[in-house]
């Protein structure tokens, strides 16, 4: 009885389910939020191109019924840059994790933001390397434990949404998986924003982050999130001590700026009589 199935299933490659994600992993929730966001942004589903790197979150495109490019570790944004420039009609979305985007792929991330290229990057930040077994990531909070930080990490974490905003993105926001409706709205806004858009979703990894940091079940993790989330607007009224260990959510950039691919198109128009030709590889002569 098809009516009794989750409405999201019809956009997934159902023959590949269930997903490889652990029970209670936030990635599945973000898949739903994304599909809802696509719908609310009124995008043509067939026009989506999903790109990802390596890591748990990067498996998302493999489950969504859409053109998808599952690439190398950290490099998804550079593949997406080529894809978008080559065919600017596509709605290119990058799914990435904290390690993928901010560690090995940090350079691509800030440069894509600097260019303000019209990509939507959804970064599922679970503060840990899940696929390789719980090593600390560039966003692991100071003092948190991982398999490579058995005594607690002393590294300072990146503040991704702010980093990307500072690097020049025209849209940047952070939410948690618990704030699903905010995530949906942000994804919608990001998809509609004609520039580089970054949505960071703080997500739960009960298997590794949770187990190593005394938050054993998905529910433990998500209730921790619930109790430690602060809206960006509240920040000025709180003391430094009150803000310690808090997840600050909200929008960090939402502006209009010239967009990279549009500039390339303009250049092409000024030097020839048209925008770059699409699907030129299939032409028999030039």
């Amino acid at each position: 009885m098809p009516d009794e199935k989750s409405p999201f299933l019809k956009y997934l490659r159902e023959d590949r389910l269930p997903t490889i994600f652990c029970p209670g992993c936030g990635i599945g929730t973000i898949i739903n939020s994304f599909l809802k966001g696509v719908n609310e942004a009124e995008l043509d589903f067939d026009n989506l191109a999903l790109v990802s790197g390596i890591g748990c979150s990067s498996r998302i495109p493999g489950y969504i019924q859409s053109d998808s490019l599952h690439t190398t570790h950290g490099r998804a944004i550079s593949f997406a840059t080529g894809l978008k420039v080559s065919n600017s009609d596509l709605d290119v979305v990058v799914f990435t994790g904290d390690g993928d985007a901010a560690s090995i792929g940090g350079n691509h991330l800030i440069h894509a933001a600097r260019r303000n290229i019209n990509l939507t990057v959804i970064c599922i930040n679970n503060n840990i390397y899940g696929m390789t077994g719980g090593q600390i990531s560039p966003t692991s909070p100071k003092g948190s434990f991982g398999s490579t930080a058995p005594y607690g990490t002393t590294d300072n974490p990146f503040n991704l949404a702010e980093l990307v905003a500072t690097a020049g993105a025209s849209y940047s926001a952070r939410w948690t998986t618990l704030k699903i409706h905010h995530v949906v709205r942000s994804i919608k806004d990001a998809l509609k924003n004609p520039g580089f858009s970054f949505v960071e979703v703080i997500s739960q990894c009960p298997t590794y982050f949770g187990r190593k940091n005394k938050l054993r079940s998905p529910v433990d993790m998500i209730s921790y999130m619930k109790n430690n989330t602060v809206f960006k607007a509240q920040v000025p009224s709180l003391s430094r001590k009150e803000l310690e260990g808090k997840i600050i959510v909200g929008e960090f950039a939402n502006t209009k700026k010239p967009e990279f691919v549009e500039n390339i198109k303009e250049l092409s128009k000024s030097k020839s009589d048209s925008e770059p030709i699409q699907n030129s590889a299939y032409l028999e002569e030039f």
Partner: protein, 88 residues
């Protein structure tokens, strides 16, 4: 009506946590996959807000929403591709 797909549910119980009406309860006996399935014990309390459906990481929950829910009502109007995906 709330439906939980037993093949997809991995037993994380986020639905139980997120439901503000406490509709869900957890079964005491594991199913054949070893999962303690949630079930809508107090279904008459359900307001059909759909949060559990949206939250469920494994697309295992279907809340039968006739008017409020986004997919069933709206998609056919403004986004034909979205709706016809599976038929093509």
């Amino acid at each position: 009506m709330i439906n939980i797909d037993e093949d997809l549910c991995k037993g994380c119980h986020l639905c139980v946590f997120i439901c503000y009406k406490n509709v869900y309860a957890v079964s005491l006996k594991p199913n054949k996959k070893g999962v303690l399935l949630p079930y809508p014990k107090f279904e008459k309390e359900c307001t059909k807000c759909g949060d559990c459906e949206l939250m469920c990481p494994d697309q295992a929950i279907d809340v039968d929403i006739e008017t409020h829910w986004w997919v069933k009502e709206k998609d056919s109007k403004f986004n034909p591709n979205f709706n016809n995906k599976k038929e093509s």
